[in-house]
Amino acid sequence: MSRHSSLEFREDIRKMPYRTAQIRLVASHPEVYEPCDDSFLLVDALLSDQANLLHHQPRVCVEVGCGSGYVITSLALILGKQESGGVYYMATDINPHAVSVARETLNAHGIDADLVITDVASGLDKRLEKLVDVMVVNPPYVPTPEEEVGCDGITASWAGGEDGRSVIDKILPVADKLLSDRGWLYMVTLTANNPSEICLQMRRKGYASRIVLQRSTEDGQGSMIGSLLSQFPRFPFLTHGDSKKN
């Protein structure tokens, strides 16, 4: 009898919704970036913004550079299966191994998403133009020699070229093209990437920005910043106040 109830208990645990992707269910591959501090920062930023996200009711969510799939899976879980029954998820990566791994991670959490091997959103930008309500990006932001940018395999996941801005500067116009008129972009940057300049640049295109979460990097040289850039017409933070850390 007690065995029976413990089985039932386990069954209950299994049915309990996860708040974010479970590391033990995240697939891996030697050439794929594993969830690290920056991935956790981005997911924690999304979690701390959960109320805003739910209120926002996104219909189309895209992750550029999905790596292991940890972030897009977490986003889908944060939006909740019931509320997000109508949400379309799409994730891309330039690394074919990453896309296969992301597929496994999504499947392990029971999340449906479209996956495409491509550079940023090449091949998707025509059809997804102005359709994306939430875009999440943990870009390769580490300052490196320019020739390392977009290399095969795992290097592409961190190599950001001069000031770590090469890929970020490629992503920003794509984000501007894809985001709907109420679209939001969540992005991780490093102090070295000059995030205030990024915000200023996007402000000229009509985006408001806000730091959702900030953490010191391990080397103490600066901080990682999870920020949100949102289209002006629906700027909810004037009414919602600052987000609270969970």
Partner: protein
């Protein structure tokens, strides 16, 4: 790769102006049963390029979709189920997506399309 993915992809080769829809060359297709989710289906109905979906479904051997969609169909469950099947349950597992303008083939392996370009195509 479900046909929803196909519906979102265009040929991204430099200079191509008529890159949508990509033609489908089937090596292997599979059918996966997916829970019927009316919310999702209705959300996607306004985002899908209908003609491209009809042609893609036909290329995959499914000819049950009507040629055009009318407003009232959103409430027609029989129609929504056919749309659901075509959009989410028919998968291109192995094959190619072919650029309609240049004939360039983008491979689909293990259900994942690869849209990466060679240097001379960017």
């Amino acid at each position: 790769m479900r046909l929803l993915t196909h519906n979102m992809l265009s040929s991204n080769i430099k200079g191509v102006t008529q890159g949508f829809p990509l033609q489908i060359e089937v090596t292997k297709s599979i059918t996966k049963q997916v829970d019927f989710n009316p919310d999702f289906i209705k959300n996607m109905l306004v985002k899908v390029e209908w003609k491209a979906l009809v042609e893609a479904a036909r290329a995959m051997g499914y000819g049950e979709l009507p040629e055009t969609v009318e407003v009232g169909m959103v409430e027609d469950e029989d129609f929504l189920r056919k749309f659901h099947h075509a959009l989410l349950e028919i998968h291109l597992e192995e094959g190619f997506l072919v650029c309609p303008q240049t004939g360039r083939k983008f491979p689909v392996c293990k259900g994942i399309p690869n849209m990466l370009l060679n240097e001379d195509e960017v």
